[in-house]
């Protein structure tokens, strides 16, 4: 305020500062470019590593594309049709991998959404050793998939593993084929994944919980709400944006499962635990059919996009 008055007072003595208007003009010109300049680095990365590969993938998917073969004939939609044609060599493999991925996602996502929420609620209370436990539950997530894969591969071995040994010691069946037969292989894969990644989701929830104003809880308490009421009417609505994030990323992560079954079950029995991403890798890099692998990737990406959209729609609807 004082500045304005001073400026006003000075105006009569001196012409408006020469730079005044001009400077504002400069700032405006600057401000028009500034957002784009800030966006540029990411845009560059997105175009290079996001957009161009997608377009290139679309191009690949309508060709029979081998990196080394000199002719890469245009095959139209053949690569896509093969995925839906029960006579093609790839049909069985493709749909068995879709089924494997679907089973894994359907069973792992609910657990990975609910268990971390429970963990976060517990870890959000104050009790001695809280920081220690927060670290303990997050710890497995720090390990790479190769480490946890190999570790559990041997722990779960039907004949030599520690898990069956311990089960036997307490009088339970000691010959469960944890990694070589279904449904046990799915129990193992989902269980290991929940153990491995719950900590990450729990940390996200924890941050969300700490964002909910304590006043809301106090108000609810004053209104006579009990613990369950407070959870339903304060905690859950407060966590809604966080939940949307957790659910979406968890579905995508589960659908992209590869390392666990690659290392722990090696696809056994037969190819029943071979997942879509694994199939795409094999098709493109091992069997040298980049066109077909690209077609698979695109179909898979479209399916995941639809699922994510439904997910967003569902949460928005709830919010209304």
């Amino acid at each position: 305020m004082a500045d304005v008055i001073e400026v006003g007072a000075a105006r009569e003595e001196a012409p408006p500062p020469a730079g005044g208007k001009g400077r504002r003009g400069v700032t405006q010109r600057g401000s028009r470019a500034t957002p784009y300049l800030f966006l540029a680095p990411y845009l560059l990365l997105f175009v290079t590593f996001g957009l161009l590969p997608i377009l290139f993938g679309l191009w690949l998917s309508v060709h029979q594309w081998d990196l080394q073969l000199p002719n890469r004939p245009f095959v139209g939609l053949d690569n896509y049709r093969d995925l839906f044609d029960s006579e093609s060599a790839i049909y069985g493999d493709w749909w068995s991998s879709v089924k494997a991925t679907a089973i894994f996602t359907v069973f792992s996502v609910p657990l990975l959404v609910v268990i971390p929420l429970g963990l976060a609620l517990l870890l959000n209370r104050s009790f001695p050793g809280r920081t220690f436990f927060r670290a303990v539950y997050f710890a497995p997530y720090v390990l790479g998939v190769a480490v946890i894969g190999l570790l559990w591969r041997f722990l779960l071995d039907a004949n030599l593993g520690l898990v069956n040994r311990l089960l036997g010691a307490v009088g339970l069946p000691a010959d469960t084929p944890w990694v070589t037969d279904v449904p046990w292989a799915w129990v193992s894969l989902v269980g290991v994944t929940v153990w491995w990644t719950s900590g990450f989701n729990a940390v996200i929830y924890l941050a969300g919980l700490q964002d909910i104003s304590p006043e809301l809880y106090e108000a609810a308490r004053v209104d006579g709400a009990n613990g369950w009421d407070r959870f339903r009417n304060v905690t859950l609505p407060g966590l809604r944006p966080v939940m949307l994030f957790v659910l979406t990323t968890t579905i995508l992560a589960s659908a992209n499962v590869f390392g666990q079954s690659f290392l722990i079950t090696q696809g056994a029995p037969g190819e029943e635990t071979r997942t879509v991403v694994w199939r795409i890798v094999d098709e493109g890099l091992r069997d040298n059919d980049a066109g077909r692998a690209a077609a698979m990737s695109i179909v898979f990406a479209l399916a995941l996009t639809v699922i994510s959209l439904v997910n967003f729609r569902f949460f928005r609807y709830r919010e209304d």
Partner: protein, 443 residues
Amino acid sequence: MIQNELSRRRLLGLGVGLGAAASLTLAGCGGGSATTSGGAAGNGGKDYTGPKVDLKLWNGFTGGDGDIFKKLVQQFNTEHQNIAVAVTTYQWDDYYSKLPGAVSSGNGPDIAVMHMDQLATFAARGVINELDDVAKALELNEGDFAPTVWKGGLYNDKRYGIPLDMHPLGFYYNKSVMQKAGLDPEKPPTTKDDYTAALAELKKAGVQGFWVSPFQFTGGMTFYSLLHQWGGTLFDGEVQKATFNSDPAVEACTWLVDMIKQGYSPANVGQDADYLALKAGKNAFNWNGIWQINDIAKDPNAQIGVAPLPQIGSQPAAWANSHNFTIVKQRAADNNKVSGAKVFINWLSEHSLDWAKGGQIPARKAVREGADFKAIPNVSTLAVELDYAAFPPATPGLGEVILTFYNSFNEAALNKKSPKQALDDGVAKANKQLEDNRKKYGS
């Protein structure tokens, strides 16, 4: 997939992680196929007198053999002032998927080591050069090699690989376990009757003596060997049709799967559990690759013995494969490099006796029959198998088809399907894959 074998051994030997951080990097934007006419450069590897060349060599020798290989390369480098070879080692798993991308982007090696069943695929795809003149200069001919290995290096009647070694499946037995069951540890079984009798004795002593793994390592390769022992083959002579559901194949598969039903093997054996159990004294017999010789040599008690595979079927047979040298085509042909590479291949082939110490049988007959080779324990024991070794056929794109074969066995061994059903289903799929390959490679 043949390419797993050395990383598998490394996993067992060192107990370290697979590190299978399978990089999803689609080695994209391949700028056209590598074209060069360097194939006929030099005088076939007799010598090289041009300016100094730096050569890149890729291999997958991640085990103890890797060190031996590097020492040989060092020796070569000191003996040749104008050729410098630099070695890069990948796990075989990654190796075959990295190589095509690296070559098409101009970052590939000059020399690549390859399994013989991969040669046709890479030759058909124009990744490697013809080497007929090297074979001529080395004065190599069919008589020097096991015929299948020699022919395995040919594609469309041209030579693409110079065989370095051969590695068959061998019979590993735990002497102290045999002793415990009252068997003579110095007399491993060699016939079907001996074999089942020994298993019965072991069972009486409370040992499941022959763990049948459902995976390629080692159950799949065991079945591969038995199928040939029963007189079957995986494919017909022209590799037009899969034949691994023939009567002999079904009988061989049934015999092996029955090991589980008769209680000689636990069900649901995990990957590598068969071999770990052998070393831990819970298993007596294991059919495993020659590369495990390095690993059992580390055992101070030397309780694991090695012998040629017992003959269970009507004829002896053993799974085997072979490492070959290849010269990679470059986008910009450099005849000096090609000549230098040929000199290196020639030199190393002549030093393959030293390579045998890495646990491989030299490809050259003359080296194999020398007294120096016969003095190398265990490795030379398995050399007799070469007379009846069953190498995979050389046809482009066959890698994935052989995986179908291993997967059928997996389903049979895990009792998901009967042997006949599993093999019938596998053959149906394999035939479709073969047809796709014919379209793709035009053969």
